[in-house]
Symmetry: C2
Amino acid sequence: MLVRPKQGILDPQGAAVETALEHLGFSVSGARVGKVVDLEVEASTSDDARAQVEKMCEQLLANPLMESYEVEIHG
Amino acid sequence: MLVRPKQGILDPQGAAVETALEHLGFSVSGARVGKVVDLEVEASTSDDARAQVEKMCEQLLANPLMESYEVEIHG
């Protein structure tokens, strides 16, 4: 799953990455830093897997005030 | 772009996520935590954009000893 700072929420890590890249000579804008969490779940269907991972995001991995999340199911 | 700990590299953040999820009652394994960086670059083609972002990963965003990266170009 991907967990990203919501639009409008200050992202100091993204700002630091942008400044560092500019100092290296890159032309970049709008840098935002979030996290990617990969894990395996036991599930009989991909819908079941998705529901479980959404619950994990809501209960632990994403702060709903400041972060949005996106779930991808593979295999 | 996505930056993840390489296989075989210890990932304490992933281990902590896995333990916390298990305590919440989820059956998960193999949790690994990396980062997602979204940014805009000035490029004339998507190949050019990809080459720039790969350079950013190599020079700043990924530690080649411990992390692998994956670049996705949109728009």
